[in-house]
């Protein structure tokens, strides 16, 4: 069965978010901004004023550093955009969502259903995953314009807050829903059923390591 395709605004209504199902393919229209550890630390720990109106201008936080440069005349050259793994940002996301009203968290790999239930669902937010990973050129085609880049002098180009106007930017995959379900955990559970069979004919290493698990239902993130 082919996945369902949806066009979505980066300032979506609660109804539009409620309509999303795990595994839907999403294309985005409107403004989105990049924010990752650099922006989170500056805004939440150093209490710097966020240089744009969130969430009225954008409710879509992309965990991304674009392959981009600022030309000498101050204009931007943005080639490819690809997400970075989101689980590393769980420390800041609850405060970030409370402060900015972000409704779409976009990145690589998703979060845990525990995260979704704890602070995505109460904030009416869902997680969109990039595809591949690494459909950077396709996503780059969805960049209509780079509206601004904030804090690049303080944080460097990779950690700066890039504000991107998107036009049918995608594909993204809906990886959480308003019940707090996690697409990746659903797939993990399916795959786990087969693992004992695959591991037949192998044996654990004679030298163990601290913290080692033999439970292959576990994830290495978190």
């Amino acid at each position: 069965m082919k996945p369902r395709e949806v066009r979505l605004s980066t300032t979506p209504t609660p109804e539009e978010i409620a309509n999303l199902r795990l595994g839907d393919i999403v294309y985005l229209d409107g403004l989105l901004y990049t924010a990752r550890e650099g922006v989170y630390m500056r805004a939440l720990e150093d209490k710097a004023n966020i240089p744009m109106e969130l969430a009225s201008a954008s409710a879509a936080n992309f965990h991304c550093s674009p392959a981009a440069t600022i030309r000498e005349d101050g204009s931007f050259d943005m080639g490819a955009v690809t997400a970075t793994a989101s689980f590393r940002f769980a420390k800041w996301l609850p405060d970030w969502m409370a402060k900015t009203g972000a409704k779409l968290i976009i990145g690589k790999g998703g979060m845990s259903s525990k995260d979704y239930k704890a602070y995505f669902v109460p904030n009416g937010a869902v997680y969109l995953s990039t595809v591949g990973y690494g459909t950077g050129a396709l996503l780059g085609r969805g960049v209509e314009a780079v509206e601004a880049v904030h804090w690049h002098e303080e944080l460097g180009l990779a950690q700066a807050m890039w504000v991107i106007r998107c036009n049918r930017m995608g594909p993204f995959i809906v990886a959480s829903d308003l019940d707090g379900n996690c697409l990746f955990e659903r797939e993990n559970a399916q795959i786990s059923k087969n693992l004992d069979r695959v591991y037949v004919g192998t044996k654990p290493a004679v030298l163990k390591r601290f913290g080692e698990t033999d439970d292959r239902n576990d994830e290495v993130i978190g």
Partner: protein, 319 residues
């Protein structure tokens, strides 16, 4: 004498090609995978990746926004000479890396590990890495750039002879399952396995097995070649596909390289060269000729030699 300007100019072209053009061997491998994939979501992902490679080439933009950490491998014929010497070569490669970062553009990924200083050009302490290899014949140099992603899919373990093949398989599967979940390894990937050496050289062997060999290549030792086939099938039998979705394509190919190790040990490393398996190669000659290709052809009989003195006949006899 190979002109230094030609080296820098060629290196810049290689940076551009590596970031934008998926190598044919990997593309063919992924097309074959897409043709066999049955999982709804993993099929969608593979098709999107194929579309992405086309878009990258059409638009001349990087195929992935995470353009990895650019590094260089330099292979030299024994008679090769560089204008200005080896330090000039290193400067040319650093300049090419910095210029291409702003030119393509690439993501300026390289930062100081503690202070997170970013020069916005992928150059810094120890960056880009430049590694060398030599061949007994020739006055050419091969410039190879690899833009490998940096965070997930790689691990090392000290195994012992008593772990045997069963232990090797266990660690291999552990790596694929651990880093395959949620697609952290950006699979399907070229999996490189290093066996033996010391901890550092084991990592180097595995990384080179992943990045400097092509899809479809086989180790010259027939028994290792058979293991490569077996491990490819094993990885693809997990039931996991792209992004960690249910699927049957995890490993586009598995390449194994070995080095002699301490008699008590059996070091093992696993590396995943991702859906953006970025590498580009050029051979430069003193008369100014440049030939571009995508196969690094790194692991020649000379690189895998076992004897004290270099003897092509003896090497062939042991292979």
């Amino acid at each position: 004498m190979i002109a230094i300007d030609l080296i820098q100019q060629t290196a810049e072209q290689l940076m551009d090609k590596a970031a934008i053009e998926i190598p044919d061997d990997y593309l063919t491998g992924l097309q074959a995978a897409a043709a066999t994939e049955e999982g709804d979501l993993s099929s969608f992902v593979l098709q999107a990746m194929l579309d992405n490679y086309t878009a990258a080439k059409e638009d001349r933009r990087a195929m992935c926004g995470d353009t990895g950490v650019p590094r260089w491998f330099v292979k030299m014929g024994n008679a090769a000479q560089i204008e200005g010497g080896m330090c000039a070569l290193e400067t040319a490669l650093r300049r090419a890396t910095a210029r291409a970062t702003n030119g393509v553009p690439l993501r300026p990924n390289r930062v100081h590990p503690l202070w997170r200083t970013d020069h916005n050009n992928n150059v810094g302490i120890g960056a880009p890495e430049i590694e060398y290899g030599f061949e007994p014949e020739g006055d050419w140099i091969d410039l190879i750039t690899v833009h490998k992603g940096g965070l997930f899919g790689t691990d090392y373990r000290m195994l012992f002879p008593s772990d045997g093949i069963e232990g090797i398989k266990r660690f291999y599967l552990d790596c694929l399952v651990a880093f395959g979940k949620r697609g952290l390894a950006c699979q399907p990937a070229i999996i490189g396995i290093g066996l033996g050496g010391s901890k550092d050289t084991c990592m180097v062997l595995g990384k080179r097995a992943a990045t400097l060999r092509t899809v479809g290549s086989r180790n010259s030792d027939p028994k290792i070649a058979a293991l490569e086939e077996e491990f490819k099938e094993l990885g693809n039998s997990i039931g996991m596909g792209a992004m960690g979705f249910v699927g049957k394509n995890m490993v586009i190919d598995c390449n194994i390289e070995v080095g002699y190790c301490h008699t008590g040990g059996m070091q093992m490393s696993v590396h995943a060269f991702c859906l953006s398996s970025r590498r580009a190669v050029a051979r430069l000659w003193p008369d100014g000729r440049v030939a571009f290709r995508t196969d690094p052809d790194w692991f020649t009989p000379y690189q895998r030699r076992e004897t004290v003195d270099w003897s092509p006949q003896e090497q062939e006899a042991t292979a």
